[in-house]
Symmetry: none
Subunit: 277 residues, 2 copies
DNA sequence: CATAAAATGAAACGAATATTCTGACCGCCA
DNA sequence: TGGCGGTCAGAATATTCGTTTCATTTTATG
């Protein structure tokens, strides 16, 4: 039965698995998902190990290899191993390719060059973030959120994704969140119930939405503790805030990747969750 | 006999071999030179294979392992294998750092430590992104978006911020965008008008929303060109898509920073804008 | 509902593996 | 020359491995 031979390299194998995934039966689908998620385990493990980690009997692993056209598990494993040996010395090749694409970034209207440009820009934005944010601000913000009954979030326009992400994570962690998105009325109506026992997280970058600024001023006036995430200490949501996170060098709205504020709000939410235990 | 344990990583092993090389006896020196020249063979081969290629009997290989402080060949082989997995997986370093910080969970609970952890995780996610996304896929996706009359976007739950960000940027660039958010009815009603002259960008990660999957299948069936951003080739929005961007190693929903997909959609939008001139 | 077909999992088989053991070999010094 | 410590290669062994088999369950089909 060794006549039939399956894919010969890892990419082909992935394609073959994805293609046949629907037609495979339950157990085999389960194995397909596992091997795509843990290719290294398959490359280095034994049948018994792979079987145990994926929660199936060993015979099912062999059946899976047969279904893909291999003569057995060992034959399929060779493909996974080829991925490992190919990846062991990628540094030179990858760097060469990267430098080439970065060179072309001057000419570079090609989408690949655009991507690598944004990636490197995001990298430096993250580096700047961890340097500019201090522990004192993080601690203060965490304390405010920990005491808050309801957490109000506002971020309009280009900052809306950041607000929705923070809302999502906080809700996952069991917090009561009011996301001010303005649907079905004004954000002022939505925030009417906010008191000094609650908290507001405001996110806004140039050009600042006047709605965000007005709402911020109103809640500050009512004594609501406020955390601002913005790009300047002179922004309309900086003065009066309990804590200000300043994220500098934000590009113009259409060119933002938002990675820095996304990372920050993530850390705020998780840090809050870890702190209250 | 497991008392003696040799070096635990490849660099230590190389140092140990170089150091003891003089004191080793003839056959063992011969083996030492071979394993330093062919580490991959040692990592993936059997004792018999390594013995044959290096021109020594199998028992000599085992004695060599013993001489280095290992309990046997298998134990030494683990070190050579660790070298392989370290080279292929860019997230290896990040996971290591994560485990370390989780070990130090006492310090790791401070918000500042949480932030730096997410930052470093985001860094490696970006590195993995630029390595896994190929120019071919970017070009194909750009071509689809360029031809589209209306661009439909769907991303629910944790992926919603990505969808809103893409919608924002595309609208800034003058594209006609329909963001399927389900407000005021089902997303199926909102997408009723989509035709093969339009395009759909679907974003979904584990656990996949069934609404996203259903909508995706429906529009694919209607012949609408589709770009999928997901975390597995086996995800419900992969099969039938015109282009699939696979972003691997996405953490569990509450711990995602979304930096990789955010960066990708940004590059897609800007790349589209530059390409149509 | 009855029957056939396919899929599944536990166990057993044979092959291949890493390791240990034994006797022979070599250089060294008295 | 004759013993001696260390090294060696090859056979012996116990273990582990991949694969197959088969009874049972599940699923599809009439």
């Amino acid at each position: 039965m060794n006549k039939a031979s399956g894919p010969t390299n890892y990419d082909e194998l992935r394609g073959a698995i994805a293609q046949r995934h629907r037609t495979l039966s339950g157990r085999l689908q389960q194995i397909a998902e596992f091997v795509l998620d843990h290719p290294t385990d398959v490359a280095l493990g034994t049948v018994a190990e792979v079987a145990q980690r994926s929660g199936v009997p060993p015979s099912a692993i062999v059946r899976f290899a047969h279904a893909l056209g291999f003569g057995g598990f060992t034959e399929m494993q060779q493909v996974f191993r080829s991925r490992l040996v190919a990846g062991v010395a990628p540094s030179y090749k990858a760097r060469l390719a990267r430098m080439k694409s970065e060179e072309k970034s001057v000419l570079g209207r090609q989408p690949a060059a655009v991507l690598s440009r944004f990636v490197s820009e995001a990298q430096s934005a993250l580096a700047a973030l961890s340097q500019s944010v201090h522990a004192r601000e993080l601690d203060a913000a965490t304390a405010i959120l920990a005491k808050a009954r309801d957490i109000y979030l506002v971020g309009l326009g280009g900052s809306f994704p950041v607000a929705t992400h923070l809302a999502y994570v906080l809700r996952k962690l069991g917090r009561r969140v009011v996301l001010l998105d303005g649907t079905g009325g004004s954000i002022h109506e939505q925030s009417h119930a906010a008191t000094r026992d609650d908290a507001l997280v405001a996110i806004s970058f140039r050009n600042y939405y006047t709605d965000t600024a007005r709402l911020f001023a109103e809640l500050v006036g009512r004594g609501v503790p406020t955390i601002s995430i913005t790009d300047s200490l002179l922004s309309p949501i900086a003065e009066g805030a309990s804590v200000v996170f300043e994220i500098q060098d934000m590009p113009e709205p259409a060119l933002r990747t938002l990675v820095a504020p996304m990372c920050l709000v993530q850390a705020l939410a998780i840090g809050l969750d870890l702190a209250v235990d």
